[in-house]
């Protein structure tokens, strides 16, 4: 990107402030790549530079999502959330704030709950991710999914995937042994519809039920 500043001290201000296209055009001269400058400029104008840059800027990542292995190539700035939603089309994981303040994007990374909007996709090479789409066993819902329906632990449903993923982790962590503990350990997941009492009931019931979650 434009922020890739070359080390060369002779680089002009214009170059530092310029875009990658300018950078490629000019740095090619500085770094004396064997390609003729005119050819490079032509390449830049045809957009070839972007295609080349895209290859260099993207990083291969191999991660398993809901049991399916994905080999993807992503820019380092792509969040796990945006990878899931925009590239893998797993839109069950929600974007509510994009800065780790609401919990709607909660997924499990190697079994631990994580705000996927605060986590870059490139950090998850080799990791196992579980999203809301991967929680049920085929047509058989996870007990907490069943409990959310039974106790009406939602209204609009937008925070629900995050609440459920967080709730499953909360139970596994052993933090769902009392209703007040659940309230404390679920406070990173905001529900603006205010379904909290029903969510707590759902989590507590599954926790008490002793089923494998």
């Amino acid at each position: 990107m434009a922020s890739k500043k070359p080390d060369n001290a002779t680089v002009s201000d214009e170059l530092l402030n310029g875009t990658r296209r300018d950078f490629l055009k000019q740095s090619s001269v500085l770094t004396a790549i064997t390609l003729a400058p005119t050819g490079l400029v032509k390449a830049a104008e045809s957009g070839l530079d972007e295609k080349i840059a895209a290859v260099f800027e993207k990083i291969p990542v191999s991660l398993t999502v809901n049991g399916v292995k994905h080999d993807v190539s992503v820019e380092p700035r792509v969040t796990l959330l945006d990878l899931l939603r925009e590239q893998l089309h797993l839109t069950g994981t929600k974007k509510g704030c994009d800065r780790g303040q609401c919990g709607a994007c909660t997924v499990h990374v190697d079994g631990k709950r994580v705000n996927s909007c605060l986590s870059l996709a490139v950090m998850h090479d080799g990791h196992h991710i579980t999203t809301i789409e991967g929680l049920a066993n085929g047509d058989e819902l996870h007990p907490l999914q069943e409990a959310f329906i039974k106790h009406d632990g939602f209204q609009c449903g937008y925070c629900t995937p995050g609440q459920i993923m967080s709730g499953v982790a909360c139970i596994r962590e052993g933090h769902a042994n009392t209703e007040s503990n659940i309230r404390e350990y679920m406070s990173g997941n905001i529900c603006r519809c205010g379904a909290y009492p029903n969510i707590v009931k759902a989590i507590y019931e599954v926790s008490k039920g002793g089923q494998k979650v």
Partner: protein
Amino acid sequence: MEKELKKSVIGEPMDRVDGRLKVTGAATYSAEFNIPNLTYAVLVSGTIASGTITAIDTRAAERAPGVLTIITHLNAPQLAGYQASAIAANGKPNYRVFGGDKIFFNGQPVAMVVADTFERATYAASLVKATYQKDEHKTSLEDNLANAISPSRGKDYQRGAIDAYKTAPVQVEQTYMLPTEVHSPMELHNTTAMWDGDKVTVYTKSQGVKATQQSIMNTFKLTDDKVQVNSRFVGGAFGSALRTWPHEIATVMAAKKVGRPVKLLLTREQQFTMVGYRPKTIQKIGLGATADGQLVGITHESYSQSSVFEEFTEGSNNVSRFLYASPNVTTRYKIIPLNVGAPAPMRGPGEATGAYAIESALDELSYKLNIDPIALRLKNYAENDPERNLPYSSKYLKECYSIGAEKIGWSNRSQTPGAVKEGDWLVGYGIGCGVFGAHRGRATAKIRINADGNVNIQCATADIGPGTATSMVLIASDALGMPTDKITFELGNSAFPQAGQQGGSSTVSSVGSAVHDASLALKKKLMELSGKTESDLSPGNYTDIIKQQNLPYLEITQGSQGGDEGSKYSMYSFSAHFCKVHVHSVTGQVKVVKAVAVVDAGTIINHKTAGSQMIGGVVGGIGMALTEEALFDDRYGRYINGNFADYHVPVHADVPDIEAVFIDKPDPVLNPMGTKGIGEISIIGFAPAIANAVYNATGKRVREMPITPDKLI
């Protein structure tokens, strides 16, 4: 042959018909459609509160990788239905997205970047540099009361003598402030638009697809067959999606310009400036009563903020005109135009703000009189609507008081503040009442029964969370005598028959009536076809009749609307909210430890979803009373807490178990189901219940919400 229902399903606690989709992540909200060739838009927010854009440098952004276009006021396509003049018909400045160089509020969009990925659009947006000529801005409500104007709506009101409270032996005269609150639905506002020739398809967060369709038709001068709007799942809205906002128009505009589908998500910070909020209000209440607690006069004066380019009126005074039987009532209302984004109706618009002030003042009066707050309310109970001199179509508020008092443990309350303690915690009990108009609008439903016995109903209504489809299935099930699992209900598509927006607690009343009437019309048609009488016809016959007629299906489109009930009756839902609070004697921390909401909302269609709606409103009330405040830095005219870390909506730890109780008696007038409405009444009155409980616990009256610990210690 179908199973026949032996009794009505109305009121049954039924699981949501879309529950499975919501718990599996399969419910697709409007930003979640996999659209080929999709591009991503990001809006650049302006950084001054008032002035003129002198230059906007997009050169660097244009050369950033993946950028397809950058739209600013300098190159925005002209839209046929967008007024080009600088002054609108109402004499106010004409705010149109990218419509000119004028800046009216901080955060106003100044550019839209469209690129092939979200990351590239976001980066390029950071390269857009706008420079401004700043004008002096006004963003403080308190500092600009002298600039208050009388709006064209929200007229002043007078019953009996002017300011009669001043003549009464016992008086309360106080000022109450509610800060700006932001709707903050969990789903970010978003729009995706794609053109195919002269037709556009839009996925957007909307509380009414027909209204959004109409706005786009007007702006782009298109006929209804050229504009398709979809909004099947809406991740909360609370009023913020009741209008078509500039960012939606900008997205449709951009999609046309780049010739590819465009998706825009606002950022959380942009939710604070671009999609409305409950305006900050300052309310002055004067109450006068006789020594035995009979109200002599109520005066309610309100000031609320609006933008400089629109008049937004918050009907905060309305409630004081009819909630209590006072012979003399004076209300005055003014707005203060400020350099702020446009407000919008937010859950319980007007009544939620007004009830906070009047119910707080009434509580203050109860201590002056040394009369129990419930007894004071009963003393001034309005059996008929004192504003319109009409009978209420139904009113069970007295029952709400007594049930709520019993459930909260009102008998443990002391009329002496600070007298009850539990450990280190001071204990207080509070009551606040809510009231909101019960409405029925026009709506049309299309009902189809297939030869296999399945029924499908379509209507262009919305569901922002209350469980509309579930309630409609129950209403149809009851009217047809068929089991719920044979019935599906579809919404959120502008191609479906007409319905108003999901707002004003009116959906079940309006759309439910259409579903009810369409179901009856279908039965009538089946009778006509078969020659059966009403008593002969049973759900078991439906498919036989269709097969005998050799029809693949039978379909009826039925419109429905009320009559002149509104001229004969005053129609309102009522609620009595009770809470018990703990206030820490050292830290000032307030905890709501118990909440009970008792509601007279007519017949309850589904106790499960209605209960959730009530609980949700109470949680909103907790936010209103204890946590929520959108704060401006008036030096820059800019929010300083436009995010969830700094703008505190209630979280799990803030919310106790909440009990919702329904009177569940049908309203005999408003609609065939006997419903009134729940959405607004759930929040109206809860914030004052908390404020009153905090006073009961501590003897400290906080008249500026939210009640944070610093105000108590």
